[in-house]
Amino acid sequence: MTRWFEDITLDEAFPLGSHHFTEAEIIRFGQLYDPQYFHVDPEAARHSHFGGLVASGWHTVSVGHRHMVDALFAEEDRLRGEGKEPGVSGPSPGVNKMQFKAPVRPGDTVTYTLTVTGKRPSNSIPGWGLLFNTLEAVNQHGELVYHAELVGFSKLRDYRMPIGLRLYLALTRLPVLGKVLAKRTG
């Protein structure tokens, strides 16, 4: 998936792999970030409507993000292996939607899949594009664990900076004029 923006195909499902959740790691994440009793205390959790310990939704999501990053690196290696220059992924501006659908319990195995559903050049950052991604996590029973609609930056390969912008950037690199321009644009 670290392809250039132009090479990214829509509606193709990328398998991101699976993760097995242990009780110890569910409790550890809970203690650090989400210390509600059903995420950190197996005994107390029996009184909750979950009936036992469950992972914080943010834990399953963070693990899903890790799988996505690993898949990007793997694709980068694959492209280099073919003698091609890989594209560049940027940070994410946000998440449009995240729905936690089924709890993750100790011993569950969660499988993640990413689909790019849309893309367009960024209006605010020249030379970059926006990718609209759907990430879905499913447990070993085939139940949907979460559905996410994420946005990510991806660098354009074929971008040619407009001449005016190129001239402006060159001027901002001059010692005196650059300072004046930086002040003006604040």
């Binding site: 650090l32 970030y33 989400d34 210390p35 509600q36 009793y37 059903f38 107390a44 009184h47 909750s48 409507h49 979950f50 469950v54 914080s56 939704g57 943010w58 999501v61 963070s62 693990v63 993000h65 890790r66 990053v69 690993d70 992924s89 940027g90 940070p91 994410s92 501006p93 946000g94 998440v95 449009n96 939607k97 995240m98 729905q99 936690f100 709890p103 950052i125 970059w128 979460y146 930056f153």
Partner: protein, 164 residues
């Protein structure tokens, strides 16, 4: 009655418009690289030089770490003090500005809406708007979160028009 949550605030005790001060967390370089190694190992979250060359302009936390730390603040100040039944999800999460090394994040949570679950009379849904800022008061992240909360009295009739 759930013995774990019986003395906590329930759905009936929450008020629309109520604002919760989230407190503050200072974000160190070790916290940023520690989280990144486990969940978000992009070079711009791990390496100073790579971060300077990236869109972030310097070593900054993973957006998911900013979210997780915000959740921690919301847990300490709100979710562990109400009869929470877990999160339903969130929407419109916007990472507005990167959290850089040694920034302190702070913010507020506002109860934006309260409604009963249509299918489970013992459950209410609280919608919370989060506004997270850095030590200069600049917006860092905003999002809208939906969380389930127990009713003290599930026999309370659903009010007409309560669940639009």
């Amino acid at each position: 009655m759930n013995p774990i949550t019986e003395n906590r605030r329930h759905y009936e005790d929450l008020v629309e418009g109520e604002t919760i001060d989230l407190g503050r967390i200072a974000v160190s370089k070790e916290m940023i690289t520690g989280f990144a190694r486990e969940f978000d190992p992009f070079p711009f979250h791990l390496d100073e030089a790579a971060a300077k060359a990236s869109l972030l302009g310097g070593l900054a936390s993973s957006g998911w770490q900013t979210a997780a730390l915000t959740l921690r603040m919301l847990g300490d100040t709100f979710l562990t003090r109400i009869a929470s039944m877990g999160g339903l999800g969130f929407s419109d999460l916007k990472w507005k500005k990167p959290v850089m090394v040694d920034d302190t994040i702070t913010g507020t949570a506002t109860i934006a809406a309260l409604r009963r679950s249509r299918h489970h009379p013992e459950r209410g849904i609280v919608t919370v708007d989060l506004d997270v800022r850095n030590q200069r008061g600049e917006p860092v992240m905003t999002m809208r979160l939906a969380n389930l909360v127990e009713l003290r009295d599930p026999s309370l009739p659903l009010v007409e028009g309560e669940n639009p």
